[in-house]
């Protein structure tokens, strides 16, 4: 075809392609034809070939070879060619392309064209894709058009100026005088553009903002005119007169009234009027009310007006339209800290929204509910949150669990409630909790000393019911290992005791050890728990011995290592076993206090230094792992003396206060000669960045004349210059 197919024909052919491959083929042929046409002299087909290329581009195929064509067409004297050329420029030439600079001159010329439609093309294109350089170049032209032209051009020039200011903020000063006078225009298009431009100028320059505060009365007048005017067919949308303009004016008033008493006072009446008179049965009215509420809450409004605004949001919460419920919650979220009590009044409705089918609404309701948790409502609200968790969409589970844990930590009415809540979460959604949950729960359990029996019963029951949830199984194993004796006693105050034998408990742990569902970490927990039970049970210690020795050849290196160590504990170091596997003490953890409703003093990371001293490590936090013993100690004829070797390692999963770090170096030797003839030193490095007061207990085990001895030393204070 000498001219190429018409664009409609080409589109028809492309749509007729039955496969992706066929489509690609068609496109390739068409593009080749288009390229060929471009190379020829001007034959009047350029514009429609470019149009075809733009269609191809929209389908996702490369079209960069059309860029220069855009430049040529823009320079054409014919309107239809310019039009397609400018359209092409907006689609193919963004400011990152070099070719975009080439159109600057054409734009400049077209800005002064005799036809307003040509001027309009130039303005539109500059306003959509003008680079900073182009903007600098052409800004004076735009300013001229802002002042002296018809409405059609003025409104386009205004938005073009907005784009320029976004690209080159310093140029804002240039447009300030002209934009002020535009506020007296009657044409809504121009007025709207002016308000957008002024908003942009005020947001970027505080001095300009100061200047435009003087325009507040004028803006109020314009707004009043819109609200009180009768039906205007040209601007009416569902009973509201030009909602687009109303919303922009409200937004500008918000910026001008923020942090300024005078400006805020001046708009109080207007806002009250809009809030009461606007019909919100349709979206247009709701949009205006929404913007009004945002403005009221952001400026220094009278308290009566604020209450009115929150009530509007409350009404929105009950609206049938999901969109309205959604934006109501986003707005309430913004004010939940500053107007906490007002928002609390709507808690019931917000919690109901947790049950909405829509994912967006659910998400908003969750955020807001979490923000509304307080000491007063914790019990009832947690019930709702747990209910929500059992049916919540997968993408929200992790967020919900961490929100629940935070709330529980801050407001738990009792330790038992706290433990129960965490266990409930682990049972429902244990796969979606963060890693710290396990150690945090363990720490909590140790502090609830009166509840050890209750806790181990609960966890035992959970374990025999289901071993698939790793976090739950890990905590259960730890508890059983630690408090198994309480389980076996067969009595419990807080709950129905179980009647189990030692074998049953060991069966449960072995099931975890052997299950393919158990992760390596979980199996580690189970093995350690089994080992700990060796000092808490009486009859079945041999069974434990055999489990431990079997796992000494386990293929998992971590388990194997543990098993070997525990084996050693049974064999050569049996005398130490009871001490090593003793009950853990309460683990302290300083936690930040930060409750809802109070103004946030700072981020979670700020922690007040605790006045009481903390034990850095109690000796029980350290499990001794003893290396192979030295035989030469007992060789006769040699100087006998105590010898020791001391390594420390963490076998349990509790850890010292976060801020302090310990590092132990190798001892200088392993034999201390008798009669004070020498010494062995071992360096321990402590990093204490928060300079907490420290106490340290050190236990030394050594052999002396075939007797194993141990000695404990407590260091109550470190010399203060040490930190």
């Amino acid at each position: 075809f000498p001219k190429g197919r018409s664009s409609s024909l080409m589109i028809r052919v492309i749509r007729g392609a039955r496969t992706q491959g066929e489509e690609r083929g068609v496109i390739q042929r068409e593009c080749a034809a288009i390229r060929a046409q471009f190379r020829q002299a001007d034959n009047g087909t350029r514009s429609h070939n470019l149009a075809k290329l733009l269609y191809v581009h929209m389908l996702g195929y490369p079209a960069h070879f059309g860029q220069m064509e855009c430049v040529r067409l823009i320079a054409s004297p014919r309107y239809n060619e310019k039009r397609v050329g400018y359209l092409g420029a907006m689609m193919l030439l963004d400011e990152k392309q070099d070719a975009s600079l080439l159109i600057t001159n054409s734009i400049k010329n077209d800005l002064s064209h005799s036809s307003q439609y040509v001027q309009s093309l130039a303005l539109c294109t500059l306003g959509c894709m003008g680079s900073a350089e182009m903007c600098r170049d052409l800004a004076p032209e735009i300013d001229r058009l802002l002042r002296a032209s018809n409405s059609y051009i003025k409104k386009k020039a205004a938005l073009c100026a907005v784009h320029i200011v976004r690209k080159v903020p310093e140029l804002g000063e240039l447009f300030t005088p002209a934009s002020r006078s535009l506020l007296s225009e009657k044409n809504h298009g121009v007025l709207h553009g002016a308000v957008v431009l002024i908003t942009e100028l005020c947001e970027r320059n505080p001095e300009t903002l100061e200047q435009f505060r003087k325009a507040v009365p004028e803006l109020v007048q314009i707004m009043k005119g819109l609200v009180m005017s009768g039906y205007s067919p040209e601007h009416n949308v569902a009973g509201i007169s030009d909602p687009f303009l109303q919303v922009r004016i409200l937004r500008l008033l918000r910026i001008l009234g923020r942090n300024n008493e005078t400006a805020s006072d001046a708009v109080n009446d207007l806002l009250a009027q809009v809030a009461t008179n606007t019909d919100s049965s349709k979206t247009a009215g709701s949009a205006v009310l929404y913007e009004t509420v945002l403005t009221v809450m952001d400026i220094k409004s009278e308290s009566g007006l604020r209450v009115l605004a929150v009530n509007i949001l409350g009404r929105f919460l009950l609206n049938n339209d999901r969109n309205i419920r959604y934006i109501s919650m986003t707005s309430l979220q913004k004010i939940v800290q500053t107007d906490h009590n007002a928002v609390q009044r709507h808690r019931g409705t917000i919690v109901d929204c947790l049950k909405d089918q829509d994912a967006s609404v659910k998400r908003r309701a969750l955020e807001l509910s979490l923000a509304l948790v307080s000491a007063v409502n914790i019990r009832s609200l947690m019930k709702e949150l747990l209910l929500f968790l059992s049916s919540c969409p997968p993408e929200l589970r992790a967020h919900t669990t961490s929100g629940i844990f935070n709330a529980a930590e801050r407001y738990a009415p009792s330790q038992r409630w706290h433990i129960d809540t965490i266990l409930h979460v682990l049972t429902t959604a244990g796969g979606d909790v963060r890693d710290e949950t396990v150690p945090n729960l363990i720490q909590l359990i140790t502090t609830a000393t009166e509840l050890h029996c209750y806790t181990v019963h609960k966890l035992y029951r959970a374990l025999i019911a289901d071993i698939s949830v790793q976090s739950l199984v890990q905590v259960a194993c730890w508890c059983i290992g630690e408090y198994g004796d309480l389980l076996l006693r067969g009595e419990c105050e807080e709950t129905e005791p179980v009647q189990v034998a030692e074998d049953d408990v060991l069966d449960a742990l072995e099931t975890v050890l052997q299950s393919h569902m158990s992760s390596p970490a979980t199996r580690g927990f189970a093995l350690t728990a089994t080992m700990k039970l060796s000092t808490r049970i009486t009859h079945n210690v041999d069974r434990i011995r055999s489990i431990v020795s079997i796992y000494g050849s386990c293929i998992d290196v971590e388990l194997q290592q543990r098993a070997v160590e525990y084996n050693a504990l049974f064999k050569k170091y049996d005398h130490m076993r009871a001490a090593v596997l003793e009950r853990m003490p309460v683990i302290d953890k300083s936690s930040p206090g930060h409750t809802n409703g109070e103004s946030a003093g700072g981020s979670i990371k700020e922690m007040e230094p605790t006045k009481r001293t903390q034990e850095v490590f109690s000796y029980l936090d350290m499990k001794y792992r003893l290396d192979a013993p030295l035989d030469h100690v007992t060789r006769p004829g040699k100087t006998l003396g105590p010898n020791y070797r001391l390594f420390m390692t963490f076998v349990s999963h509790s850890h010292p206060p976060q801020s302090v770090q310990l590092q132990m170096k190798a001892p200088s030797g392993d034999v201390i000669p008798a009669h004070g003839l020498g010494q062995v030193t071992q360096t321990v490095l402590l990093n204490n960045p928060n300079k907490v007061s420290l106490k340290m207990r050190v236990r030394v085990c050594y052999t002396s004349q075939d007797f194993v001895c141990q000695d404990t030393v407590q260091i109550d204070s470190f010399p203060s210059p040490a930190w």
């Binding site: 087909t45 429609h48 709701s286 949009a287 999901r322 967006s360 609404v361």
Partner: protein
């Protein structure tokens, strides 16, 4: 401001794309992820969602999804009205707009109508009639200059192209 406006078919094919901010081809492809989210929404869902840190507002009209990305201060409810207004403008211009209209006339009508309504991501004209008048006058100018340059593709006459472009025959495909 609106960062972009996309029109998609039910199958996810792009029918119109307007970017109000410079975006690389790769970034444009990334928005594919967002469009899939939108297309997957059940009917009667909330029309707002969050994607990355953008507010997305979408509305379905017949077989076309209109999606736009907003910045934080933008009013979502008003944006629904903006989309509604655009559809009404298309409707007024094509008379009973359908997806095929947009496909076959994209380079002429849909973008030009858009450019008389939104510029730089902001509303240019709030009056429906004013947009209509501008479109008609621009079209007249276009056809006058068009007829001066080419023979019409669809009919043998040079001077009645204006009517050909209103001709609905190919709409039956």
């Amino acid at each position: 401001m609106m960062y972009f406006l996309l029109l998609l078919s039910r199958q996810g094919k792009l029918r119109l794309q307007k970017w109000f901010t410079p975006v690389t081809e790769r970034e444009k492809k990334v928005t594919r992820e967002m469009t899939l989210m939108v297309l997957a929404r059940p009917p009667h869902s909330c029309n707002f969602l969050l994607w990355r840190d953008l507010k997305i507002v979408y509305k379905r009209y017949a077989s076309l999804y209109f999606c736009c990305g907003l910045e934080d201060q933008d009013n979502e409810l008003l944006t629904l009205e903006v989309l509604q207004r655009y559809v009404e403008l298309l409707d007024k211009y094509f008379g009973n707009v359908c997806e095929l209209d947009i496909i076959f006339n994209f380079e002429k009508k849909a973008y030009f109508i858009l450019d008389e309504f939104l510029v730089g991501g902001e509303i240019l004209e709030t009056s429906k009639t004013a947009v209509g008048i501008a479109m008609e006058e621009a079209e007249t100018l276009q056809e006058v200059t068009h007829t001066q340059s080419l023979k019409c593709d669809t009919c043998p006459n040079i001077s009645i192209c204006f009517f050909c472009s209103l001709n609905r025959q190919w709409r039956s495909i």
